[in-house]
Symmetry: C3
C-alpha cells in the first residue's frame, strides 16, 4: 500500500470513530501529544472555536461534545478530494468534509403504508468544512499529530 493511501485511511478510520461516537477508537489514531484545533471559516477569516490537547481530552470530546444518536439515527462524516503530501515520516492531508445526519422512520406495527417504496427516513447534510491533519509515522504507523478542523458553519455550545 502506498504511503499516501495509508495516510488517507487514518482519516477514514477517524470518521468511522466519530460516527460511532467511539472516543477510544478516535483517540487511538493520535500520537501521545495529539491535538485537535477547531476554527470557523467566517467567509475566509478563521476564528478559533476550541482546542483539545491529548488523547484523553479528544476521547472525552467525542463522547461528550457530540450528541448521541437517537433511535434509528446515525451520522456519516464523509471526506472528499484529498490533497496529500508525504515527506519522509511526516504527512499532511487537506480534505473537504460533509456531515450527514440520518434519521430512519419507525416501521408501523401494521407495516409500511401502501405505496411506500424504498428508503423511509431522511439524510440531511448539517456540517461541512475542511480537515487538515498533520501526521507522523511512529513505529511504522501513521498517527495524527494535529488535526485542524475548519468549520464552514458556526457552532453553538451550551452557555455561549
Amino acid at each position: 500500500m502506498s504511503e499516501e493511501r495509508a495516510v488517507q485511511q487514518v482519516l477514514a478510520k477517524y470518521v468511522r470513530g466519530a460516527d460511532a461516537r467511539d472516543g477510544a477508537a478516535v483517540a487511538a489514531l493520535f500520537t501521545d501529544a495529539g491535538r485537535v484545533e477547531i476554527s470557523y471559516n467566517s467567509s475566509g477569516k478563521l476564528e478559533p472555536l476550541g482546542e483539545l490537547v491529548g488523547r484523553e481530552a479528544i476521547a472525552g470530546a467525542v463522547s461528550n461534545m457530540m450528541q448521541p444518536h437517537p433511535a434509528r439515527g446515525w451520522s456519516h462524516h464523509t471526506t472528499q478530494d484529498h490533497i496529500i503530501e508525504v515527506d519522509g515520516d511526516k504527512a499532511t492531508i487537506d480534505a473537504q468534509f460533509v456531515v450527514f445526519e440520518v434519521r430512519g422512520k419507525e416501521r408501523p406495527a401494521t407495516g409500511w403504508p401502501e405505496g411506500a417504496f424504498g428508503a423511509q427516513g431522511t439524510v440531511t447534510p448539517v456540517e461541512s468544512g475542511y480537515y487538515r491533519p498533520v501526521l507522523r509515522r511512529v513505529d511504522g504507523m501513521w498517527k495524527i499529530d494535529t488535526l485542524r478542523i475548519v468549520m464552514n458553519i458556526p457552532l453553538a455550545f451550551p452557555g455561549q
Copy 2:
C-alpha cells in the same frame, strides 16, 4: 495501477451501473457465484433485509427493484472514505455511501423566468450506509464475490 486502486475502481463502476439502472453492467462486476447481502443497521443492530444470489438475480434486481428515473431525473450513488485491504487474490473494502436523487426542472417554453440563475432543480440525499464488498482476483481481474450493503435507513418494499 496499485491493487488497492484497481479494487476501488470496481466499486466506482458498480455505482455507475446502479445509477444507469444497467443490470448487465452491474452483474458483470461479480464472480459467477456473486451475491449481495442487504441488511439494515437499526442503531447498531443489523437486521437482514434480503439476499441476491448469482449474476442473474443481481441483474434482475437492478432493473426491477430500483425505480426507473423520471424525466429529467438521475441519481448518484456516491462512496467515501474507503478502507481497503488486499491480501494476495482477495480484497475487502469498507466504504460509506450516500445516494442522491436528482430532479431537474422543466425549462418553460418561454425560457427560464427572469432572475433565474444557475441550477434549476433539486439534489436530495435519500439513502446512506456502508458498502462492504469482498473481492477476488479471477484471471487477473478483480470481481465482487459478496457485496454486503448495510443501510442506515429502513427500506419499504411493496407488500411488506
Copy 3:
C-alpha cells in the same frame, strides 16, 4: 506518488479553486490550449450548454459566471468514485460531483439562543453530475487539456 493520485489531485485543486472563486488558480491547472465543455444530461441525452476556450476565458468564467459567496456563505464542489486511466503522458478521469451550498446563521449579539447546540446554518446540495477531464503531462506536471462537465440539472443564465 502514483500517477493516478497525481492526476486525481489536479481535480482536487480544481474544486478548491472553484469554491474560492479563484479564477487564476483554476486556470493555472489547464494547459495553454485548455478548454471546458459543459453539457446537460437530459435523461441520458447530452445537450451542449457552453464552451470555454483558453485560460483567460476559464479564469473569467470562474470569477464572473459563478456567483460570489454571501456573508457566512461558502460552497463545496465535491467529487467521488474516480475512474482514472493513465496512458503515458495522457490521462482521463471520470468522477461524480455534488456541489453543496453552505450558509451560516449570524450569531445574535446576545449569543446563540438557549438550547442551540452544534452547527447553526444549512448545507444544501444544489448541483451534480460528472467531471470528465482529459489531462496531459507537460514538463512533468499533469494539466487539464479538456474538462468535460456533464450537469445532471439544467442551468439557467441571465437572458436565456
